[in-house]
Structure formats: C-alpha cells, structure tokens
C-alpha cells in the first residue's frame, strides 16, 4: 500500500512537469502583454519533435534539442503575428492549436507511416536519474529521485523565471511592457523586441514540456497527447495572475487532484466520476480566487460598479 502511494507521488511529480513548464511560458508571455493560450499546441509540437529527433538520432538529448528548436520555430507564428503583424493573440493561438493537431497527425503519417500512435524501439527515452543517497529514503526517494532531468530543471526554471521577473532590470522592463506598452516605449524600451524574445523563450519552455510528455516515461507519440495539459496550464497562469510561483502552486494543486482521481478509482468509484475531480478542483480554485480578488477591490471602485 505504502509502495503504491509513493509510486503515485512519483508519477504525480512527473505529470506536473509539462504543465508547469507550459505555465511558466504562459506567465512570461502574460507579463509582456501577450495572452498566450497556444501552450496546448506548443506542447504537442514539442512532444512530436522530441520523438522524431530521438528516433532519428537515437539520443534522448538530441530529441530534447529537436523539441526546443521545433517549438521555438512554431512560436514564431505568435511572436511575429502578435507584434509585427498586429494580430489578436487569442485568434492566433487558436489557429496554432488547430495547426499543431493537424500538422503532427500529418507528419506522423508522412514520416513514420502510422496514424494514431507511434512507438519504436529506436526512440531513446529520457533517463531517470537515481540519486543514491536519497533514493533509499522512503517517500522522499520517490519524489526527489527517479525523475528525468527535465523534472529537476522545471523547478529550477520556476525559481529562475521568478527571479528574472521580479529581481532583474529585464524583468522590470517586461512587467512594464505588459502593463503599459506606450509608457515603456517612452522610456526607451523596445516593446516589440521584448515581446518577440519573450514569446520565443516561452516556446522553448513549452518545447521542454513537450519532450517530457513524449520521452519522460516511455518513448511514444500519440495524436493529441497533450490532452488538455496546455489548457490546464492556461488556468494555472490565470489563477497565479502571471506570477510563476503562484502558477507553480496551482500546478501542484492540479497534480494532487489528478492523483486523487486515480486513487479514488482504485477504491472502486466509477472512473467517469473520478475523472472529473481535477476539473472540479480547477473550477473551485477559479471561483475562490476571483471572489478574493473582488473583495480586495477598493470601496470607490465598487461604488462605481454599483
């Protein structure tokens, strides 16, 4: 029993990784005023490129590299579409999500001659890192050890993103660009450049998330394998109000809810019922967070709204 729970914790930490990476991407984009809801498609592109790269080279590391490059290139659509071409970010992102689904299915058939699922012994998976000194500790061994390098990286990146945003000049400028681009421009900050670079960096983060998705457990790509994780990341970004630390907290909450649903299922509850647990938690969290936000509004604003 204990063993199963510990194993479940391990897989929960694994499952959080792509969502968290996508959420960090969303926070960065939100901070520079680009509302990115293309993470679902970006994760899918990342997952596909990772499997393709790994398959052709036989190296998981080169698979990750392919995911990075592929997703950054894919993100050029948003980076330039929302800045140089002045498109509406939401519309562009919806297009990107649709494109990602169609493109990966098409390439799957063209490159590998299969549809639906692609698995092959040539696909190298990401190694699970075992830290011998910690591994034997019950629970902690399963949380901290036996994870892919991307899982460790995503937590480090959370700290780095938060630090850059709140403690460095670049972060200050990013926050200003998002809040009032005109004011930022008047202080000599190149708004367009900040936005383009940020969206591309965010693309790289989701690329890593996609690689974890397809190479993190077994090396496999299936159509639509992002399965709503990018959307959950969007919700995490909104719950965290573009704050990477709060968004990470939301991701952990979703991970726990997800694990809970599996647990309840193993207790004999029908899986149609248990599957809704993460979404109920999401909705509840949204409602609670927005109620708190409304309470904080000053009296004058409330009077104006009344």
């Amino acid at each position: 029993m204990d063993f199963i729970s510990a194993f479940m914790v391990n897989s929960t930490v694994q499952a959080i990784t792509p969502i968290l990476l996508a959420a960090l991407a969303g926070c960065l984009c939100g901070r520079v005023g680009v509302f990115n809801i293309a993470m679902e498609g970006q994760l899918l592109i990342g997952a596909f490129c990772a499997v393709a790269g790994s398959h052709y080279t036989g190296s998981a590391a080169l698979g990750v590299a392919a995911a990075l490059v592929g997703t950054v290139v894919f993100s050029l659509i948003l980076a330039y579409g929302a800045t140089v071409f002045r498109g509406d970010a939401v519309v562009i992102c919806i297009g990107m999500n649709l494109l990602a689904a169609g493109l990966t299915a098409y390439l799957l058939r063209q490159l590998f001659g299969v549809s639906g699922v692609f698995s092959d012994p040539n696909i190298a998976e990401l190694a699970k890192i075992r830290i011998s000194s910690i591994q034997s500790i019950p629970w902690l061994g399963w949380i901290v050890s036996r994870q892919t390098v991307l899982t460790y990286l995503c937590w480090a990146l959370t700290a780095i993103v938060a630090y850059v945003l709140f403690r460095t000049p670049v972060g200050l400028r990013m926050r200003g660009v998002g809040e009032d681009p005109e004011a930022a421009q008047s202080m000599g900050v190149d708004v367009r450049r900040y936005r383009v670079v940020t969206v591309l960096v965010a693309g790289a983060l989701t690329g890593l998330g996609g690689a974890q998705l397809s190479l993190g457990t077994v090396g496999i790509f299936s159509e639509g394998m992002s399965a709503g994780r990018g959307w959950i990341a969007v919700v995490a970004v909104m719950l965290g109000r573009d704050n990477p630390l709060l968004a990470a907290l939301a991701c952990v909450l979703f991970g726990i809810a997800d694990a809970l649903s599996v647990k309840l299922q193993s207790q004999g509850l029908p899986n149609q019922l248990t599957d809704i647990v993460p979404y109920v938690v999401t909705l509840a969290a949204l409602v609670v967070s927005y109620r708190r936000k409304r309470d904080r509004r000053p009296a004058s604003a409330e009077a104006a709204a009344a």
Partner: protein
Amino acid sequence: MQMVELEATGIVKRFGSLVANDHIDLKVVRGEVHAVMGENGAGKSTLMSILYGMQAPDQGSILLRGQGVRFRSALDAIDHGMGMVHQAFKLFNSLSVWENVVYGREPVRGISLDRRASMAKVADLAERFRLKIDPSARVGDLSVGVRQRVEILKALYRDARILILDEPTAVLTPPERDGLFDVIRTLKADDRTILFVTHKLHEVMAITDSVTVLRHGRVTERMATRETTPADIIRAMTGRVVNLTVERAPAAPGALVLDVEGLTIGTGPKPVVDRLDLKVRGGEIVGIAGVAGNGQTELIEALTGLRRPDAGRVTLAGQDVTQADVATHRAAGLAYVPEDRAVTGTARGASAADNLLMGYQRQQPFAKGFRLDGKAIAEHARRLIARFGVKIPDETVPVGTLSGGNLQKVVIARELTHQAPLLIAEQPTRGVDVGAIEFIHGELVAERDRGRAILLVSAELSEILALSDRILVMYEGRILADLPAGEADEDRLGLLMAGRVAEAA
C-alpha cells in the same frame, strides 16, 4: 548674466494643409519659469513635442545651451537633458514609485536590480526637490497629485535640465497645485528651467517669469510676466478683448426644482455626505465650493442616480427620485455635465452625431418606430456643431480625436439642449481655453435666465464667484455655509473651505 538655455528659431511644422507651427521663435533663459500660452489648437502641443523630440520640425533649428541639436527621438531629447510631464501620465500603476522612476535606466548589482540603491536615489531626489513621496508605494494607490510628482521624479532621475510641464494643473486640486508651485520654485532655485504650458491666467501671473503667447501657430506676444497684465495676455491669445467678468442681471428665482433633505451617504459615525439639505430654484445658479474630497463627488452621484443614498430624500421637479436610476432622473428633468468629459461625458469611439444624440434616441424626430432616423440625427448634430462652434470636420468624425475644449463643447451642447428643469454642471470649464470659458459661462447664464435651475460644482473659486447667485461651501459632507453671491469673496470662502467658520464670520 542671463544664459540662454534653449533657443528655437523659425520652427515650422505642417500637417497636410494645416500649419501647426508657423515660424515660431522661442527663447528660454536658464533658471526661469517660462509660460507657453495659447488657446486650444494654437500649436502649443506641437511645439512641445518638437522640443521633446517626439516630432521633427519641417524647418527651423534648436539651440540647446548654444549647441545646435536635432533630436531623433524623445529618448535622444532625454539624453540631452530634456524632461516632460505629459498631461496623461505615462506610469505603470501596478509598479512601485521607485520602479517607475528607474524604469529603463536601472541601478544594478551583478545581474540583479539594486533595489536599495534605487530607493535611496529616489528618496534622495524627492528630499532634495521637496517632493513628498514614499518610494515603495504602489503608484496605482496614489492620488493624481502624487502621481504627478512621480513623473517629475522620473525626469529628475534622468537629470533633466529643462522640464516641460504640459498643463500640469488641469488635474490638480488647489492644495495640490500649491504643492506643485513649491516644487517649481525649488527646481528654479536649483537653476533648472521650466516650460509651463497652460491657459490659466492666474497661474501664469503667480509662478512664471516670462510668457510666450501663441495664436494660430504664430507667436503673438513675448514678454516678462511682471511687465504684463492678464488682459494683455488674453488679447494676445484670442486676438480680441475677452470679458472675464460675466455680465448678468440679478437672479429671479422661481419654483423649487431640486429639493434635498437629510441626504446621507455612507454609514458609521462619519458618513461621506452627512444629513445634507439643499434647495435649488428655477432661474438661479447655486455654486458648491469646497476642497476636493469633502463629499461633492458622492453628492452629485446621488443626485444623478449613479449612486443610491443611504438616507434622506431627493425631490426633482416634484417627483421623488431618491432611489431612482439615471434614466428616471433624466426623465424627471435632469441634464448633467459630468466632471470627466472623456470617460463619462462622451463615448470616444462614437461620432459627434451619436454623442450629441445620446439621451434623445427615443424621442421624436430621431426615433421612427423601432429605428433611428439618420437624416434627422445628422441635421440635429450639424445645427449644434454650428451653434456651439465645435471645431470638427463633420458630424461623422469620432469625438475621441477632438481637443479637450472641443469635446467639452460637445457635452455642453448636448446637455443644454435637454429641456430639463435642472442642470448639474461639474467642472464645466476644466482644461478649456479662455475663449471657450467665456462662451460656456455665457450659455450657463442664458440658461438661468430662461428659468432653468443650475447646480454648479467647480474647483475654480473664480468660476464659482463669477457665476453663482448663491454659494454653498461643502466641508466634511455638510453644507457649512450658504452665502448670497454679494457676501462671498475668495478669502472668506477659503476659510470656510478649510472648516474655519468662526474666522470667516
């Protein structure tokens, strides 16, 4: 020895067929406060944006401390020691004061922001120039006056030697304005040069050393402030003699139009509006004076239906409208010129015709069954545009493109055409040029003489004194005094506004 800090010669700027700046010469001496005056559309804003590098002149040259300069951008101008506080602030509300000030030119330690050094620097500048401010406060929580200090700090942080203030007092309350004047004197003492763009005469007389007046893109007058008079400046601005004192016959108050009894807003021991009584009759103008924040805003919100009072009774033209919504107030007989013409008074994206229609859309001849009659609406709009002299190409142009004074004329035109017995006018001439002020004041008096009841709220004491037949002083949610126009003067009102009843008596 007077050093010339800035000298612009023969500045020309054209927009299509319009010549915004027509060979303008401007000479500013180091350490002086130099007023640039002119009516709306005289070319002040264009000239300032050229001096600040936001636009390139078509002709002309700029000498800065004797050196020829040609700014490529505002940033370039900032690097040459120019600073500008725009009318609409360019601040980040969610960021702190110090973050706003150092933004784009941050002190760093390693790769990180040096928060401590930034705060110290900002606090130091604030102290030196007597700008009272908390560097760690969030800008969004600050009042307009304090936000303006943040803008000034931003310029000083970049070591501005010349500071352009674009109508800096338009958004300030009188005490805030006095605070700004203190700051300007401190800057002057530090040998910094101030370009003060305004159309408020008494401010020019109070704070500036010299004046340059523009009209239709040309310089019409250039003089030392102490050698001139307000009348001279007005003549230079408008090209005619403008009567600043409003000619009006004594009021002949008629029937009671607005009756407010025991109006209370807010609960607890100190409500914002506290058991207030107020009566306005047809054919009189009642002015409400008071320092901002003494309940005037809330009172007007309650009288117009934007807010429900917590106690008391409001009767408008015989109808109890205490708990009624805005539409019911309007139907009962209310016309309202709101304080903020850009946000509340007009819909910026809509055409002048639509803006002038608002509120009549269900009436004949504009409504025909369930649809609107475009021809009648356009005709109505053209008539009002002509009568009120709104400067606009035609009635289909969105009002968002209009200058403040013209936008205000649109609001005034619409509200005066309402045949409502009561007109509430909040700051009707804020940010409006002298010619338009004269016009608006004349219209208000004419409406009074037609028997309308007018309730006037203004931060300008001179306006209250010029127009009102009775003056009420509001202090901490109550009417502290009710004076006939003859018994009120600026000193007495000033004391009452500060709550010092005994000294005022």
